[in-house]
């Protein structure tokens, strides 16, 4: 089909692990000149790590990289640039106080008699941008421009500086509106026609179908496959991203069957057309004691936003939340703790653990918050609680006073889980609790959720792994594009997958 001399990047059997978690396992990736290659996978799939390896930010533990038919070791980001590999990140890495022209050309400005020739610089910058099909005022301060413009400037500089042969765009459209996205696509197509190879990381599947030639799907650090976009339907793509994998969990199926009998008939929590402008459309959701409700859907579909509304992090702009028949007037995490609602957030590192504190301190944190400043939990009691949960959840730590930042991701997740279990919640909302965790710990957590349900607790289980959601939940709610689109009880994979994918398959 395509001669190998056209291949510009070849990565073979790339392996990379952090703190015992395998971020990339035997991943192959290749790139041809003039192709637009999409890289997809849910968070934790390994996309970012793969790109960091390609751009010299990280060194692979194992594997071979070939650039332009030459075996290479990419030592640093600077080295990657000299090889012609440029990256434009989501947070644009330019200087907001300088003008657009300066950002593009600083370090290589044209001079006249020892003075920077501003006019020539502006003209040059204007020309470069026009070469990308973009026309704008280059004398404007970059910070005053929209993200779309800033991205254009970043792309322009990337191409200028390293006469880039490979351009990596990391989630470029997240902050762009439809028109700006079209402009960006115009630029990308132009670059493609000039032979630049483009790696396009995105979670917007429509955009992939609009502009990409090939697509590589990663999942849990492994390569699922590389496909021609034309011959892959949307449903097939989604199946590859989040569909059923090969591991069986028979005992969980039985556990789930048994636990159904404990579900109470009357709901105690009722979200009535609860919504937040710009975040998630009004949805209705009720919860019963002993029930696990799964939230399925792709990244960006609004699941975390639902969790944030239920836990009181966000104030709703429409609808109401009822607990035990009484309307919730004040929305705040503290009030939620008092009502018995707990949330294990998605971003464990930034929103979950307090990395400098010890395991014990992290575990009793929410409990203490609920009690306030003056009812301090005695040290003895703190140790008892900590030890109880270390044992219960099998947290691998030599002692309770270990700083939590030293624990592996899976164990950190368990610490956060312990924190909320210690508050004895009625509702436990888990947002991607098994992400970046080894298989063994994943199974433990899923079993734990079902056993909590049996004790009479309710649980909202959010995960991108569809089979996980199905395995653990009594009911599955599907979110798509910030809207609740379906609710299933014991449905087949296809039905749920279709709901996630949407009408255009």
């Amino acid at each position: 089909m395509v001669e190998t001399s056209n291949e510009i990047v070849n990565m073979k059997s790339i392996c990379k692990s952090f703190l015992g978690v395998q971020a990339l396992e035997n991943v192959d990736f290749n790139l041809y000149k003039g192709e637009i290659h999409a890289l997809v996978g849910e968070n934790g799939a390994g996309k970012t790590t793969l790109i960091k390896v390609l751009t010299g930010v990280e060194q692979p533990d194992f594997g071979e990289i070939t650039i332009n038919q030459q075996k290479t070791v990419i030592r640093s980001p600077q080295h990657a640039q000299t090889l012609g590999i440029s990256t434009v990140y989501q947070e644009v890495n330019l200087c907001p106080h300088l003008s657009v022209a300066e950002n593009i050309l600083i370090g290589r400005e044209p001079h006249k008699f020892g003075f920077i020739d501003k006019r020539a610089m502006n003209d040059m910058a204007r020309e470069i941008l026009q070469g990308l099909g973009v026309d704008l005022d280059v004398t404007q301060t970059l910070g005053a421009c929209s993200v779309a413009v800033q991205q254009m400037a970043a792309i322009a500089r990337a191409l200028e500086i390293s006469s880039a042969k490979v351009l990596v765009l990391d989630e470029p459209t997240s902050s762009l509106d439809a028109h700006e996205t079209e402009q960006l696509f115009g630029v990308i197509r132009r670059l493609k026609s000039e032979g630049v190879a483009i790696i396009f990381i995105t979670h917007f599947l429509n955009q992939i179908y609009e502009v990409a030639d090939r697509i590589t799907v990663l999942r849990n650090g492994k390569l699922v496959g590389t496909y021609d976009v034309k011959s892959l339907s949307r449903l097939e793509l989604i199946t590859k991203m989040i569909g059923r994998s090969l591991v069986e969990y028979d005992e969980m199926v039985n556990l789930k069957k048994e636990s159904r009998q404990f579900i109470k008939t009357e709901p105690w929590l009722d979200a009535n057309q609860l919504g937040r402008f710009g975040s998630v459309e009004p949805f209705t959701l009720d919860l019963r004691a002993g029930e696990v409700v799964g939230l399925a859907g792709l990244l960006g579909s609004g699941r975390t936003e639902v969790a944030q509304l239920l836990f009181g992090i966000d104030n709703p702009t429409s609808g109401s939340l009822w607990i035990d028949g009484k309307e919730v007037k004040e929305h705040s995490p503290l009030k939620s703790i008092e009502y018995g609602v707990a949330l294990c957030p998605e971003d464990r590192k930034n929103e979950g653990i307090i990395s400098e504190l010890t395991v014990r301190e992290n575990i009793i944190l929410a409990m203490q918050a609920g009690l306030g400043w003056f009812k301090y939990i005695r040290i003895q009691e703190q140790y008892e609680i900590a030890d109880k949960y270390i044992k219960l959840l099998n947290i691998a730590t030599p002692f309770a006073d270990q700083p939590v930042k030293n624990l592996s991701g899976g164990n950190q997740q368990k610490v956060i889980l312990a924190r909320w279990l210690a508050t004895n919640p009625r509702l436990l909302i888990l947002d991607e609790p098994t992400r970046g965790i080894d298989v063994g710990a994943k199974a433990e957590i899923q079993k734990l959720v079902l056993s909590l349900a049996q004790e009479g607790k309710s649980c909202v289980f959010i995960s991108s792994e569809l089979e996980e959601v199905q395995r653990t939940s009594h009911r599955v709610v599907v979110m798509r594009e910030q809207k609740k689109v379906a609710e299933f009880t014991d449905e087949s994979d296809e039905k749920i997958m279709q709901a996630i994918a949407g009408s255009s398959l």
Partner: protein, 326 residues
Amino acid sequence: MIQQAKRILMRHGTLLLTFLVFVLVYYVGSKLYPTMQKPQVFFNLFINDASLLLVSIGMTLVIISGGIDLSVGGVIALTSVASAALLRASVNPFIVIPLMIVIGVALGALMGWIIQDLKVQPFIATLMGLFFARGMAYIISLTSVSIKDPFYKTLALTPIYLPFFPKTYIYATTLVGPIMLLVVIYLSFFSRFGRTIYAIGSNEQSAVLMGLPVRRTKIMVYAFSGLCSALGGIVFSMSLLAGYGQFASGMELDSIAAVVIGGTALTGGVGNVLGTLFGVLIHGTIVSVLQFNGTLSSWWTRIGVGLLTLIAIGIQSVFYIRQKRS
């Protein structure tokens, strides 16, 4: 048309404002004390604040780069005492003056290196520089050392009469500040070095990723500030014909205030050395007004400058927020 005017206003708003404040304070002063209307009073601002102007010019570049230099007063004291002591030992002034400049640049470069390679906070590193410089000054001499060198005396006491203003004069040392001002205007707007300073102050991490010579530039900025401080010390010692460890005590604070009032943000990336000029002139004007009053304590200067600095920062924030919104 209006759009154009609006844009110019947004971009140079703070500079215009500083200029207007200066004009306002000067105008009010001259109305209260008619003697202030004499042109000599205006030029006295340049004569009296010659060192402050020099030091503030260097400080402007440092603050634009996102750092700060607290050592300036100490370097003035050190260079004043060192030169006085050397001159007293009959060393040729044409050796003394370059030597002081070397000391200033070396000390600045050293602090820059400590800040950049040893990753010490600029505040701490230059504070240590201040202690070191002032300490050294006192070690050289605990008491004031007078300068009797004829070259110094000539420069200090010979007035240069100005062409268009009758009976108005300045001194040779007064010219050093404005000359440095022109140099820094060139550097900050027309040289790669200056633009890199702005880039570093705007987003240092980005500047590194963009391939700019961040390390070299940062060390050079502090060396340059050291140069300005040394020049300030030479001018100071020339004007007072003495060297003393107590000189320029607290001048770093006045200089930072002048820079901020001039529209340079302490957060870096934004600033104009021309604004610093007006900041220094405003400082001098307040001092003059108080001197003409004669009854109020001179400490009211500090209060006045403090208030203006606060207002300046407040206005900077407003402009910053407005810019972000648009």
